[in-house]
Symmetry: C2
Subunit: 318 residues, 2 copies
Amino acid sequence: MGGMSFPPDATVSEAGEFPLIQRLRDLFAQGEQVLVGPGDDAAVLRIRDGHVVVSTDVLVEGRHFRRDWVAAADIGHRAAAANLSDINAMGGRAHSLTIGLAAPRDLPAQWALDFAEGFAEECASVGASVVGGDLTSADSLVIAVTVLGSCRRSPVLRSGAEPGDVLALCGRQGWAAGGLAVLGRGFRSPRVLVEAYRRPEPPYDAGAVAAEAGATAMIDISDGLLAEARHLAEESQVAIDVRRDAFEVPEPLVAVGAATGADPLSFVLGGGDDHALLATFPTPGVPDGWAVIGSVSEGSEVTVDGAAYDGPTGWTHF
Amino acid sequence: MGGMSFPPDATVSEAGEFPLIQRLRDLFAQGEQVLVGPGDDAAVLRIRDGHVVVSTDVLVEGRHFRRDWVAAADIGHRAAAANLSDINAMGGRAHSLTIGLAAPRDLPAQWALDFAEGFAEECASVGASVVGGDLTSADSLVIAVTVLGSCRRSPVLRSGAEPGDVLALCGRQGWAAGGLAVLGRGFRSPRVLVEAYRRPEPPYDAGAVAAEAGATAMIDISDGLLAEARHLAEESQVAIDVRRDAFEVPEPLVAVGAATGADPLSFVLGGGDDHALLATFPTPGVPDGWAVIGSVSEGSEVTVDGAAYDGPTGWTHF
């Protein structure tokens, strides 16, 4: 495939499908599990451990990201992180991903390249490869990602929490929501929160560690801590209580709360996008890096300090 | 999860994310390879043969389908077929799929259910299951599918064609393009072509048979016979010549050609969407059900009867 170049300011339409795909492919280094990489009708992966853990996520411009708030490379990091985190939440490790990109014809080709570079970088940080994709035009910018991974132990489901377990959290939580609140008001600081929103730092090693330590149930917090706790409660048929005093609300969130009139804890309890992990463990047994934030009992409610929570609890997709 | 019902005329927004997802999930029967099905952070699949073949495709309303031309269930069949066919073209068999659906808020929930039912039916026809998905709102209707499968033998790539091989075709070819031409002019007949466009019938068994028979290269025809022949020629670094007299143009295409002034063979040579298979074989060695339509030689050109073809050769995605 010679002659695959285009002007740096070309749109995806001007660049053309095949030249752009060729340039994108060059950004994706292939891991040792890849027997056939991008460019054929399908990729072929070596699977050593008898199973595959697979998840898919769709991100839509204007709904999950805004190009004027987050640079292309960071959107790539976020899109990869959202998917890698789903494998983390099973106690597994991701190895291979595919990207479907539906892009407006006037999208700068450089945007697609920067996005792919950020995406590939985030994948490489956990040793995973982009093994295939599809590129097509659409009125909206839509990013569809599928991730494949594996678990060394049995996958940790949402349904295994037992009365008597503790609820524990690993990773930054509420920072991205704080950053989003800041951006939504037209500000750019506290910078640490804006950066947390733009480029989440999920605790990628924590899922496998939790599985090893005997976590009974686990989920990643993409839509809000209490919303995800509700998923755990429903799937496990238990009640979950979260303790306010378990959280030391970080100073930048206190500052945003003061500036916006919001309860700073509402970012922690209702915010998503950090991709922290929420898990239940039999007591004692919470591994390093995890903080106990609540308890599991018989019942079906999700409460905060024993009472219903009346703040925002998470993100709705419709 | 009780109470997951909504009025039959609800939009996806009115139905709500979780009730709609629950109803969609109920449509997806799980195969024996599924250790954990839809509803957790990820699905878990048993992989018996040490590898996975994976491909992804994005379909966009207005670009790949029109809701006023094709019923929801048929769009489901088409979306599944396009992906299952990619595994077929590797000589493999699909076992598991994920669907990402970005839908306008005013899309009828029943449309999503009918789509999913058609999708699941097409998958079931080859013994594959829908194991996961994602549902979100967007301005456009975008369907992103990822398919996983396996090959009993080595996968058949695009790059293995050798000078001296024959080029062979399996499956209906040009019928869907004829149907699309008919629909594009506001007609509904010949009905057999319109139906071929609405619900393709890819030769799902032919890929594995071709692999068994020693096919050297293979591709599925989604974008046009000559366009896909060009992919084979480029990846294999060979020349390919297609013989006009190898095709018996079916009567309905002759009729559409006469009515529209088009060369009826142009549907066969330029049309996509039937998901026929194109493969190269060492002579002799073409299995039953395959028709020899050309030859492979040294060089790099794709020709028809030895000369450049000046008709439309396929679909461009931008």
